[in-house]
Symmetry: C2
């Protein structure tokens, strides 16, 4: 892209350019209201060569904007804490809320190019990252985001001239980073790397915009044009439904819920003996994943009163409390609702070496949100693939991903509900809503069957926990967790 | 405290101890419901010598707890990112939500002792920190928190024995930290430091509990006793109103709002000339505070339609967008409401060298929350002192703290409201609520006078911005920001 890049210039006198800038700035100012009304989040990534003027450009862009409607974020080199998360984690953290702007000063292009030049990542990791970036862009787009990607281009001589000038005086010298000097020294090499990543992440849904940044006024005008046009387009296209994709992830053949036998027996004695052995084993594995920095993500879904809570407790009581966290998931809070629906789960991912247990999960999208109409049909239909992509990213990161559907039959639920209702100590566990949900058992069952069929991938399989007998269910779950962790540690292929 | 510490032991057979532990654990289990009902947040700090068994103790404490109701947090050595915040920032981040437990594995005692031993802080900083910790504890207590502080004590020989044993085999050697070895080598020195900090932070409202940790069962039982007792007490005392303190902060003599003249004039031309000069100056200062790592916090309050937004914009348009952030403050979200009311502001503090601008602030407590009855009388009366303490901590950290009341008179507000109402482009800026608030002008004015009188401290002064003429107001605000920053940089005393 940089190689074929032709310098574009507005062929008009300075005065006219100034007038146009003023006009476009006013347009951008008015668009603040527009994006607020349309709840459009606008995510602007500003990449480019060192000394290309990223900071100045951002300063000029926001000049007329209301500071309550935008954030500018300088993506520093990641601290140790952050690199213990998936690569895109810290970018996902910064995505704007509906109706607001976020301007990123350098982003994943810059970070990845550095990693390549410094040989911190291999070819395979690079390819995976570029795939993840494409997915990230597309998911944002499909979930109502406008993503604008800009690359500020200056020729080699121009960069050299600017850096020399900065280094010339003591007052400005500190602003030249080591990276800038490296870029000058290895310009050709950087050019190749930038080009490769730019091309690989230049998609129809979120294209790159190469900006000629030699003349600052020209560059500003170009960017104002791009930005205002894309905002207008995004608003216009906001009614266009995104395509529903089915990426070709290897799906496991799963039974329907109605085909799953629930007549398992287990005595308390047998349970206690097995539990002790398994908890001991799990404890040791926890130590091992901590040292090998393997993250583990365990997702719990299940019928009301199926015994999720007790099941989770038997798992966690084997674990070092400093190495796991349980995330109870309720309906999203306003700042969560204002972002991509996977954001709040992304936000809660464990550090590597740690375990995160989700008590209810992102699958709410294709169950309660689908059935109660909290999202559109296109939203939940798209979600199967989006969640597969999300989980693929997690396992590419090195995570063990396990999903449990804690299953009981209708009669067992009724018995447990009645028991809760009649037992003063347990009454808080049962609400009117539980009874209402129970009435919708059949539509839920259908949705769950579809969910399990469409999202049980090799790297993030669903397990149906047979929980009419709670003892059996607990042993089953803990055994699966052990097996999956051992599989990962032994690097064996999943069955 | 450690010096006078007498070993306490339950004088009873092992069997009885085990039975008691079981009993107390069940009590703790039931208390989960109790704290949930009473919305009591329980913050448990576990400090102590290396190898005293902190991890094991926590593991034993939570064994019966529902993992959805607690979090265990291991307070690692702070990463660079965090040390760019006030000392207590990362502890404030971890405080529990109402109705939940947080267990901290090591906290500010451990961190501070290390800093003293390694000579990373001087005497003055140490004294300030201990004062901050006392304030932190008291504020949490007053705001409905139960804070339980435990120190696990083992004698020198016991510590040595345990560490030697750990270092003996390869499997356990990695668990011995450098700090543990240092503690063994400098035991006497550590003892003195621990003692000093323990004594200085041992208050009537949040006392220390020294736990004899030689025998693990005995230690567990002691802690279970302490914890269950303190929870019962906290629930019992939840109706007792905290004392309303007025710490002796040097207050500035401030006029009443009615005494503030609002007849300033400024032409657009004059304004534009002055603005240009001042923005240039501020831009340079921004660079300087960035390099000197001075944090700046600017708090905006004011009447509806007083021109806060426009005022903020003229300030920020002079700033490098990568070095500031504007935080619009609306009513708190659920996860914010479930915590100490200052938490969400603490959370949004800038890194040092950065500027945070709050568009509405923590002073909502003594204005809207007071007048609309969103908090109790005791709550808002206590808040003046709490906010002074909060701001004192900020300036002790090195921050410039500036508070603006953007002031207009009633007629001017009416004129601007009417203008908004009649102008289609501005209509979104005016709501029914604005009109309702306007009716309460007089009670608000009284509350604001009280607020300004009680919280205009030398280190965090209020400035009344005279905003009938918006041009005048903008110049005034930007000039004050410049003056305050220059004062800090020049280390001059405030006027």
């Amino acid at each position: 892209m940089l190689k074929n890049y032709e310098i574009r210039k507005y062929q008009m006198p300075q005065e006219e350019i100034k007038a146009l800038i003023k006009e476009k700035r006013e347009e951008l100012f008015c668009q603040q209201q527009l994006i607020k009304e349309h709840k459009l989040p606008v995510f602007v990534l500003i990449e480019g060569w060192g000394a290309a003027g990223k900071g100045t450009l951002i300063g000029n862009l926001i000049k007329e904007l209301d500071p309550r409607f935008f954030r500018v974020i300088n993506m520093d080199v990641p601290a140790e804490k952050n690199t213990r998360k998936p690569f895109l984690w810290r970018y996902m953290e910064t995505i704007p809320e509906a109706g607001k702007f976020v301007f990123l000063d350098s982003a994943w292009l810059d970070e990845t190019a550095e990693d390549v030049i410094k040989k911190r990542i291999d070819e395979e990791t690079l390819e995976k990252r570029m795939q993840q970036i494409r997915t990230f862009d597309r998911q944002l787009k499909d979930n109502g985001y406008l993503v604008v990607k800009l690359f500020l281009q200056i020729p080699e001589e121009e960069q050299k001239k600017r850096l020399d000038k900065l280094m010339d005086t003591k007052d400005t010298k500190w602003r030249v980073a080591k990276k800038d000097i490296r870029q000058m020294e290895k310009r050709k090499q950087y050019e190749d790397v930038f080009d490769r990543i730019l091309e690989a992440t230049n998609t129809g849904y979120v294209p790159w915009n190469i900006v000629d940044a030699v003349d600052k006024k020209q560059a500003l005008l170009q960017v104002l044009h791009i930005l205002t046009n894309q905002i207008n387009q995004a608003v216009e296209n906001s009614k266009v439904l995104p395509e529903i994709l089915h990426k070709d992830y290897p799906l496991l053949k799963m039974p329907k819920l109605s085909e799953v036998p629930l007549n398992q027996e287990m005595t308390k004695e047998e349970y206690q003996i097995q539990l002790k052995t398994l908890q001991k084993k799990l404890k040791k594995l926890h130590n091992k994943i901590y040292r090998k920095k393997v993250p583990v993500i365990i997702a719990y879904e299940g019928w009301d009163a199926a015994g999720k809570g007790g099941n989770i407790k038997r798992l966690t009581s084997a674990l070092d409390p400093r190495g796991f966290e349980v995330h109870p998931i309720a309906s999203p809070e306003p700042h969560e609702k204002a972002r991509h629906y996977l954001w709040r789960f992304y936000h809660r991912l464990p550090k590597d070496g740690h375990i995160a247990i989700f008590d209810r999960t992102w699958y709410g999208r294709v169950m309660v949100e689908r059935l109660e109409g909290f999202c559109s049909e296109n939203d939940w239909k798209r979600a199967y693939n989006e969640m597969n992509e999300f989980e693929k990213e997690l396992s590419d990161w090195g995570a063990v991903v396990i999903k449990f559907w804690v299953h009981i039959d209708k009669d067992t639920q009724l018995a447990r509900f009645t028991d809760r209702q009649n037992n003063p100590e347990k009454q808080w566990k049962i609400t009117e809503e539980d009874w209402r949900n129970r009435e919708k058992w059949d539509v839920y069952e259908e949705a769950i069957d579809e969910m399990i069929a469409k999202t049980s991938t090799e790297n993030a399989p669903w397990y149906i926990i047979q929980s009419n007998n709670k003892y059996y269910a607990r042993i089953q779950a803990i055994q699966i967790v052990i097996d999956e962790i051992e599989k990962k540690l032994g690097n064996k292929r999943p069955l």
